[in-house]
């Protein structure tokens, strides 16, 4: 009887994982059929933020480093797309991604090299300060970056130019097609992230997070791992920025401003940073919460700030964390019953 009780939860967790993901995927895939264009667009933004938060959480949840400068990578992705358009006339979404990611990787590698020599508070301060270098560059070099007006990015072509959105009816077609495109990229990147955190590399990161001394004494080179995590994290968040700008149609320095980094931290915490799916839930939920907050009151920052404080006080493990605690209690009570 006892052996069964120990074995079952394991079997169940895997099953729940696959079942839950499959159901979630089916639901997400059928959304445009049931809701209007506006909601579809909103959910697209939500998925984009989910990617950003997933990337961010590689550093926080899995490596134990809290960055307050991830707006830099998101904005870097967005601006790179704008530059590719402006200087090279590129319209292809695939090229945006293929060319934007290496740029982000290089910048993350550079900034990461400076930042991972520090930990905890100083790391956070440094990531914030360095991200603002990019912000001030975007603002000051207005003849390149459009300054505070930003740069426009019209609808791209998808699937190597096979799909474009010119002509009448282009907008609704774009919204629906782009939703599926982003969903596809989201599924792919979530799968990649899942694999990374469950790989030996991912286990090593978690070990370093849990106990740096012990990790060093099984032979792990701490700084190297942290730097690698930083690089991957920044590149992932940049992908979100790349996907975001064609939908938004415009990139401005606001997306590099540090309060946006705070929003990324917020959404990750909202979903829960100790779970894999937390950032996904948080990214989508935050997008909807913020949109409705902005729509309902002029003082949406006040609302969001209060939500954040209450959240940190009452639900430190976020939505997913709270749900999993509830389900554990239900499961435990079932075990006692049997």
């Amino acid at each position: 009887m006892k052996a069964a009780a120990i074995a079952l939860p394991q079997f169940n967790t895997r099953l729940w994982l696959y079942a839950g993901s499959a159901i979630g995927l089916v639901v997400l895939a059928s959304v445009p059929g049931f809701v209007g264009l506006y909601q579809t667009q909103l959910l697209t933004y939500g998925l984009i933020m989910a990617i950003a938060a997933l990337g961010f959480n590689l550093l926080l949840g899995y490596t134990g480093l809290l960055s307050f400068g991830h707006s830099a990578y998101f904005g870097l992705g967005a601006y790179t797309v704008a530059f590719l358009l402006q200087w090279l006339g590129i319209h292809s979404m695939e090229l945006y991604i293929l060319m934007g990611l290496p740029v982000a990787a290089i910048v993350s590698a550079l900034l990461g090299y400076i930042c991972v020599r520090h930990t905890r508070i100083f790391f956070g301060i440094l990531t914030l300060a360095l991200s603002q270098v990019l912000y001030s560059l975007a603002l000051k070099f207005f003849w390149v970056t459009g300054g505070s007006d930003g740069l426009r990015v019209p609808r791209p072509t998808l699937l190597a130019g096979m799909i474009d959105f010119a002509g009448s009816g282009g907008f609704p077609r774009f919204i629906r097609s782009y939703y599926y495109y982003v969903l596809g990229v989201f599924v792919l990147s979530a799968a990649i992230m899942w694999m990374m955190v469950h790989s030996p590399f991912g286990k090593a990161l978690q070990a370093i997070r849990d106990n740096e001394t012990r990790a060093r004494f099984i032979g792990l080179r701490i700084r190297r791992f942290r730097w690698a995590a930083f690089l991957l994290s920044g590149t992932f968040t940049a992908l979100a920025g790349i996907l975001w700008v064609p939908l938004n149609g415009l990139t401005t320095p606001d997306v590099l401003y540090w309060p946006f980094s705070g929003e990324i931290v917020f959404m990750t915490l909202l979903g829960g940073f100790r779970n894999f799916s937390g950032p996904i839930v948080g990214g989508i939920a935050f997008t909807f919460i913020k949109t409705y907050a902005v729509a309902s009151t002029e003082y949406w920052q006040l609302l969001l700030g209060t939500v954040l404080v209450v959240l940190v006080l009452l639900l430190p493990t976020g939505i997913v964390g709270a749900l999993s605690q509830i389900s554990k209690r239900l499961w435990a009570s079932k075990e006692i019953a049997t």
Partner: protein, 292 residues
Amino acid sequence: MSILAVQLLNSLFYASVLFLIAAGLSLIFGVMRIVNLAHGSLFAVGAYIAAWLVGRAIGFGVPVIWLLLVIPVAALAVALIGIVIEPLLLRPFYRRAEEYQLLVTFGLLLILEDLMRLVWGGLPLTADTVMDAMPVVHIGGLVYPGYNILVIAIGMAAAVALWLLIYETKFGVLLRATSQDRRMAAALGLNVGLVYVAAFAIGCFMAGLGGAIVVPSHAAVLGMGVEALVLAFVVVVVGGLGSLKGALVGALIVSFVRTAGIQFFPEVELAVLYLIAAAVLIARPTGLFGTA
């Protein structure tokens, strides 16, 4: 020659304001090991309260020279806000991980920014009258506001006062003891909770004072706090977090680099600043005098 003198004075003016903000941040970190992301917003609140008080005082026909009293009053108001914030929002998190503290202060930032918008609206709030009321100084052939010199004097006085408080008073001993070893201090019978509130209040006072002295020169605008925090961070990155000397030296360096930058490389003045900060970090990873 006189232009150089003016630039020097401008740098010192800017440094005084930066010092006040950074010193407050460093003090709070040094004693409580908290970085308050809303610190810049408290600076902004100080500016808004000061400008608002000036406006009301003028409305009541208060003679202009009394308006200078608004400055310490505004700073005290911010300190009072700090006394309310600490037990409500910060105390529940001392036992928790640092991440949560940063998050809760970020939430506080959002709340404060919108409260300022709610109370004072979206238009800039000025206090020019105070500046105009002060006599001008003649430097070479140039005319320079005497108010700026007052600000520099206030900055220097604050530095001296803080130094005296921390190193020469009994309360300063309490502060230093608590910052070095909180549990030991509690074991020795020190009321750590009280020390924390006091330290936080002093830090907020400094931020509010910074806002109050800058507003006659630069109007209070929404978002000034968010901007100020980044600069305060650069100051502590250069000077070191948790050190009074660091805040002073950092503020001076940042200020002079910025002034020189604006003069000679106006587009990249901030980038030059960050470059200097990066150089300091490579040489001394915790900043020049850091304890972090």
